[in-house]
Amino acid sequence: MTPATLFIVLLTLCGFAYYVGRRRAVAVAGDASQIINLHSRPTYYGAIVALWCGIPALILFVLWLAFESSIITQIVISDLPENIRSQTAAELNLFVNQIRNIVIGNIVSGKITPAMQAAADHYHSLQATSKAALAVVVISMAMLGLLVVRTKISPTLRARNAVEKVILYILIACSTIAIFTTIGIVLSVLYEAIRFFKVIPITEFLFGLQWSPQMAIRADQVGSSGAFGAVPVFLGTALISAIAMLVAVPIGLMSAIYLSEYANKKFRAIAKPLIEILAGIPTVVYGFFAALTVAPFIRETGGVLGLDVSSESALAAGLVMGIMIIPFVSSLSDDFINAVPQSLRDGAYSLGATRSETIKQVVLPAALPGIVGGVLLAVSRAIGETMIVVMAAGLAAKLTLNPLETVTTVTVQIVTLLVGDQEFDSPKTLAAFALGLLLFVVTLILNVIALYVVRKYREQYE
C-alpha cells in the first residue's frame, strides 16, 4: 500500500468513525427524540470518535514517513561487509546513493558490484517490510481508537468540551508554525554557516576585500585558490539598493502626496490601483525587462555620451528595482499621510499656509516616523530582492561605487553558488549559507526596527 492510498484509507476510516460515534450516541440516548438526555449533541460524539481514530494514527504515520528512509539506510550500512564500511564518509555516501539509485531503478554510474546488488536487495526488502508494517500498525491503531472511544460513549460523556479542547490545541499548534519557521531558518542557515566559518575565519569573510569563490578541484590547478572576502559583495548590494531607493523614494513619496492631498476621488480611484499593478508583477518579469530593454538602452545612451557602460551595469538593475519598489513606498506613505488628523491641516490653513506649505511643514513632519519605517521596509526588500539582480546584474565582484560598472550582490552569489549540483562539504557551497545568514540578520534588524517604528506611530494617532 503506498502512503497516498494509506492516507486515503485513514481518512475514510475517520469518516466511518464519525458515523459510528453518532449512531452510538443516538442509540445510547434511546432514540432520536431522546437525544435531549445526552450531554452534547450527537455530532460531537461522532467527532470525538473520529478524532481519536484519526489523530494518533496520523501522528504515527507522519513520524514513520519522516524517519523511515534514514533508519533503513542505517540498517543497510550496518549490515554491509567490513571492507566497505571502513571507507571514508564521502565514499560511503556515494555507495549508499548508488544503492538508492538501484532500488529506484535509475541509471547507475559505474559497475554494479555483487556487494552493491546484495545491499540494494536488502534495502528493497526492508522498504517493503516497512511499508507493510506501516499499513498494519496505522490501521490497527485507528481501529483501536475507534473501538475504545465508542465503548466510552454514555449520556454523561462531556463530548463537546473534549472536542473543543482538541480543536483549541490544533489552533494553538497552527499559530506556532510561524515561530518554528523562524527557528528553522535560523538553525538551517546558522548550522551551515558555522561549518563555513570553521574553514574560513569570520574576520576574513566580513572584512576581506576579494571575492572569488571558485575552489580548486585539484591541488595543481591555477588561478582558483578561492577567496572569501565579502566586502565587494556587500558594496555591490548597497550600491544597487541605493540606486533603487533614489528612484523609489522620491517618486513613491510624491505620488502618495499627490494622491492623498491633491487628487480628486475619480483620479485616485484609477491611478492608485494602476500603480499597485507594479507591485503585483513577478520579479522575474522585471529581471527580463531589465536585461532585455533597460540595460541595452542605458549602454547605448552612455555610448552616445561617450561613457563606457558595462552591459550588466548596476544602474540598470537598480533602476528597475526602484520601479518595483515604487508602489511599496507609495502605499505605505499614503497610509501614514492619511493617518495625520485633519485638525492639523486645518490649523495650518487657518494660519494662511498654502497647501504645499501645509504638506511640507505640517503633514510630512507629522507622518515622518511612519514614512521612515516604510522606507526601511523598502530597503530590506531591495536588499533581499533576487531575480532582478540575478538576471540584470553581473557576477564579477568589483570593489567600486561607479554605477556604470558591473557589480554583484549577496542574493546573486547565493543563487550562483547553490544552483546546480553541489557537494555539501566545500566552502564554496557553505559560503552561500554564510551569505544567507548575513542577509537574514540584516533584513531582520531592518524589519524589527521598521515594524517597531510603524507600530508605535500607528498608536500615536489612534
Partner: protein, 433 residues
C-alpha cells in the same frame, strides 16, 4: 496692525502693513505651490509610464510567438524504410530529408544538403512518427504535411533577422534564403497558430518549446501550497484573534509573523534546501517541496489578511451568539468564521498570486532543471512557469526572446485573472457594518 518700526518714521511714508508683506510673497508662494503639485503629478505619470513601457515592451516582443512558421512537405511513407515491427524506431528523419531533396532536386553537394535539411525543425520527424504509429495504414502513401520550420527560418519570416547583414554573420546563408523565397513563392511556407507553445514541454529547440509542462508544474505546486497554507493560516488567525490571551508568548508569535512577511524569499529557499532536501531527504525539483516552501512563505500573508477579516466582524455578533448559550468555539465556527470567510479567501487568492510569481526559492530547491516531460504527480521532477521564464531568458537563440515574452504574457494573464477574482469577491461580499 502697523509695524512699530515704520510707525516711528513719523508718518513720512504710508505705513507698510503685514498684508503687504504677505502680498509681496504671494506670487512666489503660489509658484512654489504649482511646482510642488506638478512634481506630484509627474511622479504618478512617471510610474504609469514605466508600467505602460513594460507592458508594451513585453507584448511587442511576445505576441509573435503565438504564431509559428510551417513548411509544407510531401512525404512518401516508404515501405522499405518502415517495417511494421519496428515502426517506433524507424528512420523518420530520413523520410523528411528525402522529401526535401525531392523538392529541390538541384541540390547535390553534401554541404548544401545539410543546409537544406536545416530549414526544417528536428520536430518534423517526431510528427511523422506519431502519425505512423497511430495509423500504420498510411505506409506506402504520399501525404502532404505542414511541419514546423527551424527557428532561424521562423525569425526570418517574422522579420526579426535581417537579410542585409553580411553572409558570414548571418545564421541563414544566401542559398538558404533563395530556397525560402522559392518555397514562399510556391505557397509552401506560411505562419500558423502555434499550438505547440501551449501544449508542449520544454525543449532546446525554440520551435518545439512550450509552456504546458511549466503550467502543470506551477499548478501542482500551488495545490500543495493552498492545501497547507489556507487551513493553517486560518486556524492561526482564529486563535490569535479570538482565543489568545494577551501575553508575551502571543506577542512573540505576532512579531514573528510580521517579520516573516518581510523576510527575503530566497531565505525561504535556503530553508527548503537545508531542511526539506538535506534533512528529510525529499526529492529534488519536486512540486511537493516547492509547495512546502511557498506555503511557509505565503502563510504570514494569509494570517495577516485573515486577522483583519476577523477584526472587521462586529462584536455584537459574538455577543449575540454567546448570549443565547453558544460556547466560544461554536460562536466562532457558526457565526464569526462564515462572516469573515470572503475576506480570508480574498487574502488567500492574493497570497496565491504572489506564490505563483515567485522564482527565487524554487531555484534553491532545484526546480530549475531542464525537464521535457509533463509532470504527472507531486513528486515528479517539474519546473514552474516563472522559472521557465528565467531559463528561457538565459537561452541565446533569438527565438527564445519571443517565447520568453509570450510566457510572461501567459503568466501575467494568470495573475490578472486571480487578482480580478479577488477584487470581485471583495466587492460582492464586502459588508459595511
Amino acid at each position: 496692525m502697523n509695524n512699530p518700526e515704520i510707525k516711528s518714521n513719523n508718518n513720512k511714508k504710508r505705513p507698510e502693513r503685514t498684508l503687504d508683506i504677505v502680498n509681496r510673497g504671494l506670487a512666489r508662494r503660489y509658484q512654489a505651490e504649482k511646482r510642488f503639485r506638478f512634481y506630484g503629478l509627474m511622479a504618478i505619470v512617471a510610474s504609469l509610464l514605466f508600467l505602460s513601457f513594460l507592458f508594451i515592451s513585453i507584448t511587442g516582443n511576445g505576441y509573435g510567438a503565438f504564431q509559428q512558421t510551417y513548411i509544407q512537405l510531401n512525404v512518401f511513407f516508404d515501405p522499405d524504410h518502415l517495417q511494421q515491427d519496428s515502426l517506433a524506431t524507424a528512420d523518420y528523419q530520413g523520410l523528411v530529408k528525402k522529401s526535401l531533396r525531392a523538392m529541390f532536386p538541384e541540390v547535390k553537394s553534401r554541404r548544401d544538403k545539410r543546409m537544406l535539411y536545416g530549414l526544417v525543425s528536428k520536430g518534423a520527424s517526431f510528427q511523422l512518427r506519431a502519425l505512423a504509429l497511430k495509423n500504420p495504414g498510411i505506409i506506402g502513401q504520399t501525404q502532404s504535411f505542414w511541419v514546423p520550420a527551424d527557428d532561424d527560418v521562423d525569425m526570418l519570416i517574422k522579420g526579426h533577422s535581417s537579410r542585409k547583414v553580411p553572409e558570414d554573420e548571418r545564421r541563414l546563408k544566401d542559398k538558404q534564403l533563395a530556397w525560402i523565397d522559392q518555397l514562399s513563392a510556391a505557397g509552401n511556407i506560411k505562419k500558423k497558430f502555434n499550438k505547440t507553445f501551449f501544449t508542449g514541454g520544454d525543449s532546446r529547440e525554440p520551435e518545439l518549446a512550450g509552456i504546458w509542462g511549466a503550467v502543470v508544474g506551477s499548478f501542482l505546486t500551488l495545490v500543495v501550497t493552498l492545501i497547507l497554507s489556507f487551513p493553517i493560516g486560518v486556524a492561526a488567525a482564529v486563535y490569535l484573534e479570538e482565543f489568545a490571551p494577551k501575553n508575551r508568548w502571543t506577542d512573540l508569535i505576532e512579531v514573528n509573523i510580521n517579520n516573516l512577511a518581510a523576510v527575503p524569499s530566497i531565505v525561504f529557499g535556503l530553508l527548503g534546501l537545508a531542511v526539506f532536501l538535506n534533512f528529510f531527504g525529499l526529492p529534488r525539483s519536486a512540486p511537493l517541496v516547492g509547495g512546502l516552501v511557498l506555503a511557509l512563505m505565503t502563510l504570514p500573508v494569509i494570517i495577516i489578511a485573515s486577522r483583519s477579516a476577523l477584526k472587521s466582524v462586529p462584536p455584537s455578533i459574538r455577543e449575540a451568539a454567546l448570549g443565547i448559550g453558544a460556547s466560544k468555539m461554536q460562536m466562532v465556527a457558526h457565526h464569526v468564521l462564515p462572516l469573515a470567510l470572503p475576506g480570508m479567501l480574498t487574502g488567500t487568492i492574493i497570497g496565491m498570486a504572489r506564490a505563483l510569481g515567485e522564482t527565487a526559492p524554487l531555484l534553491m530547491i532545484g526546480m530549475v532543471a531542464f525537464i521535457v516531460d509533463i509532470p504527472g504527480g507531486f513528486t515528479d521532477p517539474a519546473t514552474a512557469l516563472p522559472v521557465q521564464i528565467f531559463l528561457w531568458a538565459d537561452s541565446p537563440e533569438r527565438a527564445f526572446v519571443e517565447r520568453t515574452s509570450a510566457a510572461i504574457l501567459a503568466l501575467l494573464a494568470f495573475l490578472i485573472t486571480m487578482n480580478a477574482a479577488a477584487v470581485i469577491l471583495r466587492k460582492k461580499f464586502e459588508k459595511r457594518w
